[in-house]
């Protein structure tokens, strides 16, 4: 079993964690807050890991959970007006980056599995382990995400 020093984790995993948080929160500043909170949790809980992959999965899980909590808090205390999708769409309207903007239009649960599957390249069983949900749930979300993405992307292609 290994202990991961937070300072090393910051150097190694900040990038992945920031992107994981971003796919949920849609704003960079909130994503940075969430990831900092995740590192503070690593510092306070001092978990042991089987290996570095296990450590990374733990950090991603914590980041995702913190981001979801922040999103719930934001939506409940700000009347739901700071919706992640709106924030992300405002960002991408200028950038015209179609695939990522299409992903950010998905429901939050779909975005998370898409990120973990296509960006981090985890298997569905690894994703199920990270998200603490059944493999069938992951498979269903991925399938629905793909269908929705196809619709969104085909719609964008027609508009070009």
């Amino acid at each position: 079993m290994i202990k991961l020093e937070p300072e090393i984790a910051v150097k190694m995993y900040s990038s992945d964690m920031l992107r994981a948080a971003y796919t949920i929160l849609g704003t960079k500043s909130d994503s940075e807050d969430a990831v900092q909170d995740a590192f503070l949790k690593l510092l306070s809980k001092k978990p042991s890991f089987r290996d570095m992959e296990h450590a990374k999965a733990w950090l991603l899980r914590v980041t995702i959970n913190i981001s979801k909590s922040m999103l719930r808090y934001r939506n409940s205390h700000y009347g739901g007006e700071t919706d992640c999708n709106t924030a992300a769409e405002d960002y991408f309207e200028e950038k015209n980056e179609s695939v990522l903007s299409a992903v950010m239009k998905l429901p939050q649960d779909f975005r998370t599995v898409v990120f973990l599957y296509y960006y981090e390249e985890y298997s569905t069983s690894e994703i199920a382990d990270i998200l603490h949900c059944p493999v069938s749930t992951v498979t269903t979300r991925l399938s629905r995400a793909r269908k929705t993405l196809k619709t969104i992307l085909e719609g964008e292609l027609r508009n070009e």
Partner: protein, 240 residues
């Protein structure tokens, strides 16, 4: 998602940039937290030096030295209330990062006050809170404008039903070293012990029209409102 789209997705995510000094700021935050662990101090305020552990902030700014809740009360000549804040259960230390502002609910206590009603002194149950507000750029606040206010709110009650006015709330404010301190004195909130109770910040004299009640009984802010936004939730064991 086909291979082309997957590649684009990865490229687009990889090309995203975050704050250039994010790692340095994070390492600094972790280092400060480690120091606090080593000396046995926890995030709660010590009598000599008050430090807020900002969990929700990335920007580099100097943390001001804060007064304790007792010191705030003493500055306001409320010594007896100051003593209440020394109890262990009084400490809350909830911090909200709102734009350029850092707001912290430091303490909350129950107390009693003698109130003269029709010539008779009556002991009345009250609740007291201490909140601090400072700006990340260290600028002092213009006290003549008196912009930021607080109101208690209760889940399930509309803003116009339970608020700073209906609860006979008085608020005393001081500024020291660029930090605003609020000592909030309100009717007892014990009748609402079975509900979630909040303390909400807003810009303006009255909360009506700025803070809105959501369908589930919680609170948010008006769509076009761009003032101070911070809603503290009292711990569930506050009324125990």
């Amino acid at each position: 998602m086909n291979d082309f789209e997957k590649s684009n997705f990865k490229t687009e995510l990889d090309s995203m940039t975050f704050s250039p000094n994010f790692e340095d700021e994070t390492l600094k935050l972790l280092s400060e937290k480690k120091k606090m662990h080593k000396t046995g101090k926890i995030i709660k305020i010590s009598s000599a030096v008050a430090v807020i552990a900002i969990i929700m902030s990335v920007s580099a700014f100097a943390l001001p030295k804060l007064l304790t809740s007792r010191q705030v009360a003493e500055r306001l000549k409320m010594t007896e209330i100051g003593e209440l804040f020394e109890s262990e259960n009084a400490s809350i230390e909830q911090t909200i990062n709102n734009g350029n502002l850092i707001l912290t609910l430091h303490s909350a206590v129950h107390g009693k006050e003698l109130v003269n009603i029709n010539g008779i002194d009556v002991e009345e149950d009250r609740d007291y809170f201490v909140v601090s507000v400072f700006s990340k750029d260290g600028k002092e606040f213009d006290m003549s404008k008196n912009e930021i206010h607080f109101t208690p709110l209760v889940k399930g009650y509309k803003v116009h039903e339970v608020n700073v006015c209906s609860l006979g709330t008085s608020i005393s404010i001081i500024q020291e070293n660029g930090v605003l301190y609020y000592l909030i004195n309100t009717d007892t909130l014990k009748p609402f012990a079975d509900r979630e109770v909040y303390l909400a910040a807003y810009d303006g004299m009255m909360p009506f029209g700025l803070i809105v009640s959501n369908d589930d009984g919680s609170f948010g802010y008006e769509k076009n409102y761009d003032g101070v936004k911070a809603i503290f939730t009292l711990p569930s064991d506050y009324f125990n």
